[in-house]
C-alpha cells in the first residue's frame, strides 16, 4: 500500500481496548492480531496438576517469546510452579476450564492490572505478530483521559521491559479522527465499556471538554439481559449446553446441561456476554427516529434461537431494549443500582458547550462516530436525528465509516496511518530521550 508522505519504519501499533486488543504493523489497513482483551488465570494450586497439554501451550509459547524478547519476561516466567497459570488469546480463553478466572486489564478505560496488560503485550509479540520488540518502534493507543502516572508507567514498561527503540502514546480520539481524515473533530467513541465524546483540535485533545458515560456495549448487553429476564427467558451460555433438540417457537427448550464444576463467576459472565453479543448482532436495532411504541410495533419481527434451543420472535423489544442509550426513561435498572440519567446526545451537547465558541461549529460539523457499539443498526441515523433536535440552527454532520471493520478498529487504523508517516519520525520518543528524562518523558507527548 502506498501512503502519501509515508516512510515505513516497520512500527507496530497496539490498541488495548475494553473488549478487544488490536495489534499490527503500521501502514497496513487492518490489525493482524485481534483478540479478546480478557486474560484468564487459574490460581496456582493442586488444580495445576490435571491441566491438559493444550492448556499449557499458551503460557509456554509466551515464555519462549519472552525469553527471546527481554530478560525481564524470562525472569518473570522462570518459576511457573509458583505463578498462576495464565491464558491469553481467543483460542485459550474461550475454552471452559475449571476455575478459570477472566479479568480485563482495564478499568474505566485506564490500565489497572499491569500483570494482565503485560500478558497481553507478551501475547502480541510472541504469538499474534511473532515480532522482536527491540526491532520495532511501538505506537500505543491510550484513552484520552489517561492520567499522568499511567502514561509514565506505560513508557517505563515499553522502554524497560520490552526495550523498544522508540515509543509513542497516541490518544485514541486523535487517532480515530485521523482515521476519518480529520485533524479537528468531535470524536464520539461508543465502545464496550462506555461512550466518550472527545473534542480534537488540530491533532490535540481538549481535555477539559471530554465527556463520557457508561453507555457502551456493556450497558446495552445489560439492558438486553434485563429485558430477556423480564420476558421470562432463561439464559444459558453456550458452554453450559452439552446437546440440544430443536423445539417449536416459544416451546420450553429441551437440552442437556453440560457438567461444568467450579465455573467462576467471571467465566459465566463471559459466556453470557457472548450470548448477548450474538443477540445484539442479529436482533437488536435502534429506532432511527424518535421512539414510540405504536409505530415500532408494526416493524417485522425477528426470531432468535438461544444456545439451549429455545427460540422465539422479538418485535417491539428489538428496539425498546436499546432505547436507553438515547432515552433514559426506557433504561431498565437493577434494584439498588443508580440509573444513568444522561444520553449520548446530552454528552455531545455538554461537550460542545464546554468548547470554545469559535470551535463549536467546527466540532458539530465534524462529528466522527467510531467504536464497536456504534455498529448497532440505526445508531448513526438516530444520533443525527437527535442532534438535529438538540442543537437547533447548527449544521450537524456525522461522519461514520461505512465498513464495520473501520469503525471497530478506528483508533488502530489512525495509529497505523500516523506511525507510517515520514513526518512522524520527529515525534517518536526514543530510548535515548527516555534515558535522559526518565518516565516523565511522557510530557513530550501532548
Amino acid at each position: 500500500m502506498v501512503v502519501f508522505g509515508g516512510d515505513e519504519v516497520s512500527a507496530l501499533v497496539l490498541d488495548v481496548g475494553s473488549r478487544l486488543t488490536k495489534a499490527g504493523y503500521a501502514g497496513e489497513d487492518m490489525p493482524k492480531g485481534v483478540f479478546s482483551s480478557l486474560v484468564g488465570t487459574i490460581p496456582a494450586s493442586g488444580a495445576d496438576m490435571d491441566v491438559d497439554v493444550d492448556a499449557g501451550a499458551g503460557p509456554r509459547a509466551i515464555r519462549q517469546g519472552g525469553d527471546a524478547a527481554a530478560g525481564g519476561a524470562a525472569a518473570a516466567a522462570s518459576a511457573p510452579a509458583a505463578k498462576p497459570r495464565r491464558f491469553v488469546g481467543d483460542t485459550e480463553i474461550f475454552r471452559w476450564r475449571e476455575g478459570l478466572e477472566l479479568r480485563s486489564p482495564l478499568e474505566d478505560g485506564v490500565v489497572s492490572d499491569w500483570d494482565a496488560l503485560e500478558a497481553l503485550w507478551d501475547h502480541v509479540y510472541a504469538r499474534a505478530l511473532r515480532a522482536e520488540p527491540t526491532e520495532h518502534p511501538l505506537l500505543f493507543c491510550e484513552p484520552s483521559w489517561n492520567p499522568r502516572e499511567k502514561r509514565e508507567k506505560l513508557c517505563e514498561l515499553a522502554f524497560e521491559k520490552y526495550q523498544v527503540p522508540a515509543f509513542y502514546l497516541g490518544r485514541s480520539a486523535v487517532l480515530s479522527a485521523f482515521a476519518a481524515g480529520k485533524p479537528s473533530a468531535l470524536v464520539v467513541d461508543s465502545g464496550a465499556a462506555f461512550t466518550s465524546v472527545v473534542p480534537v483540535y488540530d491533532g490535540y485533545v481538549l481535555k477539559k471538554a471530554i465527556r463520557r458515560a457508561p453507555l457502551g456495549g456493556d450497558f446495552v448487553s445489560d439492558q438486553i439481559r434485563m429485558t430477556l429476564e423480564n420476558l421470562g427467558v432463561e439464559l444459558v451460555p453456550q458452554f453450559m449446553v452439552a446437546s440440544k433438540m430443536p423445539v417449536d417457537p416459544q416451546a420450553p427448550p429441551s437440552f442437556v446441561r453440560a457438567e461444568r464444576p467450579n465455573t467462576t463467576k467471571s467465566f459465566t459472565e463471559f459466556g453470557m456476554e457472548q450470548l448477548l453479543q450474538e443477540f445484539k448482532e442479529t436482533i437488536v436495532q435502534i429506532a432511527e427516529s424518535r421512539f414510540d411504541e405504536k409505530s415500532y410495533r408494526k416493524r417485522p419481527q425477528r426470531s432468535f434461537e438461544f444456545p439451549n434451543g429455545f427460540n422465539r420472535p422479538f418485535g417491539l423489544d428489538r428496539f425498546k431494549c436499546v432505547e436507553g442509550l438515547f432515552n433514559p426513561q426506557y433504561a431498565l435498572t437493577r434494584p439498588g443500582a443508580e440509573p444513568i440519567q444522561t444520553t449520548i446526545t446530552r454528552l455531545i451537547a455538554e461537550c460542545t458547550g464546554e468548547c470554545d465558541f469559535d470551535l463549536r461549529s467546527t466540532m458539530i460539523n465534524n462529528i466522527v462516530l467510531t467504536g464497536g457499539n456504534s455498529l448497532l443498526p440505526g445508531f448513526a441515523d438516530r444520533l443525527y436525528t437527535e442532534l438535529h433536535l438538540a442543537l437547533p440552527g447548527a449544521r450537524v454532520k456525522v461522519h461514520a465509516a461505512g465498513g464495520p471493520l473501520e469503525r471497530r478498529f478506528g483508533p488502530w487504523i489512525g495509529g497505523s496511518i500516523l506511525a507510517s508517516l515520514g513526518s512522524f519520525h520527529q515525534l517518536w520518543i526514543s530510548k535515548q530521550q527516555y534515558e535522559e528524562m526518565g518516565p516523565s518523558v511522557e510530557k513530550r507527548i501532548h
Binding site: 519504519v9 527503540p165 522508540a166 465558541f357 463549536r360 513526518s423 530510548k431
Partner: protein, 514 residues
C-alpha cells in the same frame, strides 16, 4: 477481436479455416492457448507434425504473398511463444511433466528431446491455426531490461529535525542517505524568549506571576501557538481565559520587540504589528458570538421567518416598481416618455385650476404633473374625456365599443329612461367628444336610477318607522305592552345600512340634479 480473426482466416482460405469449420472462434482460441501450454489437445502425437507442416508448405505455395505474412508471424507471434519453449536444462521435474502431459510419462532422458521437438511442432501448428496471419493484438518486443537494478536495503537513518540521534530503519535505495527527506517538515513556531533581566525591566504585570508567564511561553512553544489547546492545558496559579492568555503572550512579545528594537525601528514596527492584539475587541466579539449561539429555537425560527419575508419583499419590489411606473405612465396618457421632466407651470396662472379640486388619492406632486399634462391635452382635445384616462388598445377600434356598459340589473330601466329623453343605444355622430358626453349621460342615468332606488328605500323605511312610532304611541296610550318582535328586527338592519350610502353616490346624485 476473435471474430475479426476468424473472418480473416476464412477469407484467405488457409488451413485454419478448415480446422475452424465446425468450431466457434472462441473455442479455436481456447484450443490454441491450450496447445501452447503443452496440454496436447490439438497436437496429439508426433505423426501429426508432418501433416501440419505439409499443409503449411502447400498453403504457402498456393498463395505466395503469405511468405511475407510468415515473416510477420515470426516477428509477432513467436516472441509470445518463446517463453514457453523451455531450454533443455529447465525441464520440469518428471512428476510435473507427467501431470502436464496427461499421463504420458516417458523416461526423463528421452523426454527433453521429445518435448523440444514437440514444442517446435507446436509453434508450426499454431502458425497453421492462425492462418499465417499476425494476431490482431500485437505482441511487442520489449527492450531488454538492464541487468543491473537498484539495490534496496533496510538501513538505519537519522532525522536532523530530532534533537537526539534516534536511528530508525527503512527500505532505501540510496546507500549514502544523509538525512531523512522529511526533516524539512520539522518547522517550529517562532516564540520569543526572554531573560530574567528583561522580565524585570519590561514585562512585569501585576496580574501575572513570572512562573505563569514562563509556563505560558513554554506551552506556546510546545503547542506551536494553538491557543485553544494552550487554554486547555494551562495550569497556572489562577484559571485564565483564552483572551487573558493571548493578551499576555502578545503584550509580552510586543514589549520585547519594543525593548530590543526601539520604538522607531521599521523592523520593530513590523514585528509589533505582527503581535497586535486587542483584548476588549476580542471579548466583545466573544460576547456577540455567545449571543448568537445561545438563541432559543423560537428565536431562530422567528429569525428565519423574518429573513424569508425580507427575501420575498426584495423579490417583489421590482415588480411592484414596474407596476407603479405603468400606472404613472397610463396617467400621463402614454404620451410623455417616463424620463421627461414635466414642466411645473405655476398653478395660479391656470384659470381653470379652481374648478378642479385635488383628488384625495393623489399626492400634490402627482396631481401637478397630471394637471400639467391634462392642460396640454385640453388645448388640442376635448376636455376631460373619460376615454383619455384609460389605456388605449393598439390597432383600430370602434369608439362606441369603448363606451362603458350599464349594469345588467339596471339595463332595462336605464334604456327606458334614456328612451324617454330620446337618447338611442348609440350616438349618431360618434366623435370623441360626443362619445364622451354620451357615456357621461348614460352613467348619470345609471347614477340617477341607483339614487332613486336608495331614496325609495329610505322613504319606505321612513314610512315603516312612522307606522311603528304611531303603533307604539297607541300602545302607550292604550296601556298595552309593545310588540317587541317586529320593532328591533326591522329597525336594526336599517340603522346599520344607512351609512353605507356612499358619499360619491350622493355627490353624483347632486350633480345629476344640477
Amino acid at each position: 477481436m476473435l471474430e475479426i480473426q476468424a473472418s480473416q482466416t476464412s477469407a484467405f482460405g488457409g488451413p485454419g479455416a478448415g480446422l475452424g469449420d465446425g468450431m466457434s472462434p472462441a473455442a479455436a482460441m481456447a484450443r490454441t492457448s491450450s496447445a501452447g501450454s503443452l496440454s496436447g489437445d490439438v497436437v496429439v502425437g508426433a505423426d501429426a507434425v508432418p501433416q501440419q507442416q505439409q499443409q503449411q508448405q502447400q498453403h504457402q505455395q498456393q498463395q505466395p504473398h503469405h511468405q511475407q505474412t510468415g515473416e510477420i508471424l515470426a516477428e509477432f507471434v513467436l516472441p509470445t511463444l518463446q517463453p514457453r519453449t523451455r531450454p533443455a536444462g529447465l525441464q520440469p521435474v518428471p512428476g510435473h511433466a507427467a501431470a502436464d502431459e496427461r499421463g504420458a510419462a516417458p523416461a526423463p532422458g528421452a523426454q527433453s528431446a521429445r518435448a523440444f521437438r514437440k514444442q517446435a511442432s507446436l509453434d508450426a501448428s499454431i502458425a497453421a491455426l492462425t492462418g499465417g496471419l499476425p494476431p490482431v493484438v500485437l505482441a511487442r518486443r520489449w527492450p531488454a531490461a538492464s541487468t543491473t537494478c537498484r539495490r534496496w536495503r533496510w538501513q538505519p537513518f537519522t532525522n536532523s529535525a530530532r534533537t537526539d540521534s534516534l536511528a530508525l530503519g527503512h527500505w532505501s535505495s540510496d546507500p549514502n542517505e544523509a538525512d531523512s527527506r522529511f526533516a524539512a517538515q520539522g518547522v517550529q513556531a517562532q516564540v520569543m524568549r526572554f531573560t530574567d533581566e528583561e522580565y524585570d525591566t519590561h514585562l512585569k504585570d501585576p496580574a501575572w506571576s513570572k512562573e505563569d508567564t514562563e509556563h505560558l511561553f513554554a506551552l506556546c512553544r510546545e503547542l506551536e501557538l494553538r491557543f485553544y489547546v494552550i487554554a486547555d492545558r494551562f495550569e497556572g496559579s489562577t484559571p485564565r481565559t483564552i483572551e487573558d492568555l493571548k493578551d499576555r503572550y502578545y503584550s509580552v512579545s510586543r514589549a520585547l520587540v519594543a525593548a530590543r528594537h526601539g520604538a522607531q525601528d521599521p523592523q520593530g514596527k513590523l514585528m509589533t504589528a505582527k503581535y497586535a492584539y486587542d483584548k476588549t475587541r476580542e471579548i466583545e466579539r466573544r460576547r456577540i458570538i455567545e449571543k448568537l449561539l445561545s438563541r432559543t429555537p423560537e428565536q431562530i425560527e422567528e429569525e428565519e421567518i423574518l429573513m424569508h419575508e425580507l427575501k420575498k419583499r426584495a423579490a417583489s419590489e421590482e415588480s411592484w416598481n414596474r407596476e407603479r411606473e405603468l400606472i404613472l405612465r397610463s396617467l400621463m396618457n402614454n404620451e410623455l416618455p417616463p424620463q421627461t421632466a414635466v414642466p411645473l407651470v405655476p398653478l395660479s396662472t391656470d384659470p381653470r385650476k379652481k374648478r378642479r379640486p385635488l383628488r384625495g388619492d393623489e399626492t400634490p406632486m402627482m396631481a401637478q404633473g397630471v394637471d400639467a399634462i391634462r392642460r396640454r391635452n385640453r388645448d388640442r382635445e376635448v376636455d376631460d374625456s373619460p376615454l383619455r384616462k384609460e389605456k388605449l388598445p393598439c390597432g383600430a377600434f370602434l369608439r362606441t365599443s369603448r363606451i362603458q356598459p350599464i349594469k345588467i340589473s339596471l339595463q332595462t330601466r336605464a334604456t327606458a329612461l334614456l328612451d324617454e329623453y330620446r337618447i338611442g343605444a348609440r350616438p349618431n355622430m360618434p366623435t370623441a367628444a360626443v362619445c364622451a358626453k354620451f357615456d357621461e349621460v348614460r352613467q348619470l342615468a345609471v347614477a340617477l336610477l341607483e339614487t332613486k332606488k336608495l331614496v325609495d328605500k329610505a322613504e319606505h323605511e321612513l314610512k315603516v318607522a312612522h307606522i311603528r312610532r304611531k303603533t307604539l304611541k297607541d300602545d302607550l296610550a292604550g296601556g298595552r305592552k309593545p310588540a317587541a318582535a317586529a320593532g328591533p328586527a326591522l329597525s336594526a338592519p336599517l340603522a346599520g345600512k344607512r351609512p353605507l350610502v356612499s358619499p360619491p353616490v350622493q355627490r353624483e346624485h347632486k350633480r345629476a340634479r344640477n
